[in-house]
Amino acid sequence: MHQQSFTGAFSMSDKQLLFAAPRAFKGSMTPWSLLPEVSSTALNEIARQLEELKIPPSPASLSLTSQPRNLQESLFDATASVKILAAQVAMHMDKNWREKLFRQIDSLHDLEEWDSEDKPIRRASFATFLKAILQVKPQRHPGLGLSYEGYLIAAWTLGQDRLITEYLPNDRVRWILTRHIDGEIERASGQTIVSRLTECLAAYQPEHWFFDAKA
């Protein structure tokens, strides 16, 4: 149903991008069901924005014809899936941050650098990450990585201080930090839900990581 509205509006690569997403969501839960009713015009706009944010393939990756097709497909589908989720809340993110996030997703799913034991980003993990980011609204954006389970992990580092967060399904967040305060090294860790993350971190002055000092 959604696919028809795209016909004729895009090049082949655009179509591949858009058609890949529904294929990734076979089953009872589709990405669209998680989101407010979206018109085809809005979807066209999202697709256009996604196209703008796509990074051209590197020359090295073009030579990777020996990679299994199913891996390429699963990375492609996972990339489309999480970018569509991000695009749905793009109005709450500044353009630079959105572009950086999309580049980071492309980098995490870079076929040339892909570890055979990795799993693509789980959509439920990415949804938790987006909720956390939209709640905290950090000025400084984290370095991103992936756990072996496909959960997104994020790191804010400042000197020797670091805050690591891991985004689990169902709004769960695991966090661990090292903070130097008044000559003492403090370490703390925990697991909570997104809505309580800032409260859990409050004792360790998380603005230290999230915001520029001069702000």
């Binding site: 650098e113 034991e117 370095g143 072996y148 661990i176 090292t178 370490r187």
Partner: protein
């Protein structure tokens, strides 16, 4: 090349390296590596003990041993261009694990194509505090794969 039997306990003052794939590296906006995520030390899906490589298995000075170890790994596994290698002192790893309530043994465990292979035995599967302490405190050097010939 040192000859030791499988199961040899590595001396505390020796070094091991851990291969860190690109998605476990913390990078800045320009792709420069700032450190490793705790998950770099997590057990891989099919691992029962974290794999490391024993530097002193090879002859030569520190740099020569690093190079030989990396070359052996490159020949045996798919080392990614943007990956890195974390170097740690055996005794430091054991000490950090001990502080986190785990007495590990770092044991020489040669494989057919990776003779320098060793492993950290009795390692817990999902202890985030231990993983973070190792990631943030055990490494004496983090070397980008691209920086090794």
């Amino acid at each position: 090349m040192q000859k030791h039997k499988k199961g040899y306990l590595l001396p505390d003052d020796n070094h091991v390296i851990r291969y860190v794939s690109p998605n476990r590296l913390i990078k800045d906006d320009d792709g420069n590596v700032l450190g490793v995520f705790p998950q770099a030390f997590a057990l891989r899906p099919n691992e029962e003990a974290p794999s490391v490589n024993w530097l002193e298995h090879f002859e030569g000075d520190y740099d020569a041993r690093i190079k030989q170890t990396v070359h052996e790994l490159r020949a045996a596994i798919s080392v990614k261009g943007k990956s890195a290698f974390g170097v740690a002192v055996v005794g430091n790893i054991k000490e950090i694990c001990k502080k986190n309530g785990t007495a590990v043994r770092i044991v020489y465990d040669p494989r057919k194509s990776i003779e320098s292979h060793a492993e950290i035995r009795n390692f817990p599967r999902d202890d985030l505090s231990l993983l973070e302490d190792l990631a943030n405190g055990a490494l004496c050097q983090l070397i980008a794969n691209a920086d090794i010939e």
